[in-house]
Homo-oligomer: 247 residues x 2
DNA sequence: CGGCCCATTTGGTCAAGACCAATCCGACCC
DNA sequence: GGGTCGGATTGGTCTTGACCAAATGGGCCG
């Protein structure tokens, strides 16, 4: 990464800058390596720091960079493929399960959730909070909403601790005959609560996955999952889901 | 939306601002309505224009707003659900097909694509370019890579026009026994070419879908699709994929 | 030695102002 | 009537400069 000056070009400076940096990342830096700090990079390219940051933000959005206040900007490893179609036996307690149940509360569901649950609207639900780990870091949070009426075996542990109670809900739900799933994926920004769990700043880009678990009687449960968009590639199906983005 | 002043808060101003604006959008604005311009909004909230823009960018990322230079900032309609699991008969020519084939070229595939195609690496492929329409606007672009050897019936129309040639490739591909698909979804930023087709600025956030079409002999084709992240909610399965994000 | 504290480093936030470029629309001319 | 030119409007880009907050690491103190 030399002391290349930007010329007057029809395209925005930050866009050109992003291209230059991207090529430099490919050829001159190793994963995990730390870049010069923003003030020095800006000076080296002859642009304002704000302009440089615009380029860095794009690269971070694409999962090429990782920035941490007080530490620096490092080259990010390739995105990790995360299967959103976990086979049934990978639910809590089973081997290979990457989800960690953290809490469970009995509450009135948000309106959107109540609507998705159909006839069960307005009735109390269990909200089970889970976190998904990959490579030692949290990559996703999830809230699973289960109508209380669907898991009748729960009455015995009404006041138990959150995590254990959540595992019990999932165990009961696992006993039901589930007829399939129904998913949607969209872009969102992390709420303060999710950002904290994912070790990100509020507003960080996340992939929001909405799942409906279907049963004979209708919708057995719905889940709202948020995956770190910078580090995750969501896969559907058996393979690892090769990325063609490098092309 | 009154002349509310921001107080000194522990959270960033743009974050608070985003919350205030978001609530105002829910209660005081209709879809399609145009907001006051950025300079006036900034003055009204007593912040710098850059700070206001940070809040607007977040809201645009979440699909709440739509901004167009020279026009203004308008309230965006809810995201449109787009099924990425099109049934087979919806391929070109069939009724209900939202894809429009635009061009087709015979070329050497990018390395990432060659790798995904396995044994066919290095061999020439057809690159079919398509655009997906929804509600009268382009919401996705796609490049489908098919090994030339897989569609032998093409020799007769080698020099034909792009779009017609592309449709022929798809028709031939459709004759093969396809064994299923394999998908991955990740966040990306629109390349200049895709941005132009999607009526967005370069770097706009997109959902990148990588699809492998499987056949008996291995991978029959791969597709790289980019969906407008601001306007699309990708759905998998039969239902419309209700969004719980409003909660 | 062990733990606390503080200066340094680094990215994050914010301000004020300038100019650029896409768009729109009315005035004008043919 | 219809096309064309030109300002006015609006979001997009860029600069300079300042301060804030998380993280680190070295040094001091018990």
């Amino acid at each position: 990464m030399g002391t290349t000056r930007l010329e007057t070009v029809p395209e925005p400076k930050y866009w050109h800058l992003k291209t230059v940096l991207s090529e430099a990342l490919d050829s001159e830096f190793a994963v995990g390596e730390i870049l010069p700090n923003e003030r020095e990079l800006a000076a080296r390219f002859g642009v304002a720091r704000a302009t440089l940051r615009q380029a860095l933000e794009q690269l971070e959005l694409e999962g090429r960079l990782q920035r941490r206040r007080g530490v620096g900007t490092t080259v990010a490893p390739p995105r990790v493929g995360v299967d959103v179609n976990p086979v049934r036996h990978s639910w809590p307690g089973a081997p290979g399960d990457a989800w960690q149940t953290e809490d469970c509360e009995e509450t009135a569901p948000p309106v959107a959730v109540a609507g998705a649950l159909g006839a069960e609207a307005g009735r109390p639900v269990y909200a089970v909070h889970r976190v998904r780990m990959a490579h030692g870091q949290a990559v996703a949070t999830e809230t699973l909403y289960v109508p209380a009426a669907s898991v009748p075996g729960m009455s015995g542990i009404g006041t138990e601790a959150g995590a254990a109670r959540g595992r019990a809900v999932l165990r009961e739900l696992n006993r039901l005959e589930l007829g399939g799933q129904d998913r949607a994926v969209e872009l969102g920004s992390a709420r303060a609560e999710d950002a904290r769990r994912l070790d990100r700043l509020p507003g960080a880009p996340v992939l929001v996955v909405t799942t409906r678990y279907l049963a004979a009687g209708g919708t057995a449960a719905v889940a709202l999952s948020t995956y770190r968009a910078d580090t995750c590639r969501l896969t559907f199906g058996d393979s690892a889901g090769v990325s063609l983005l490098a092309s």
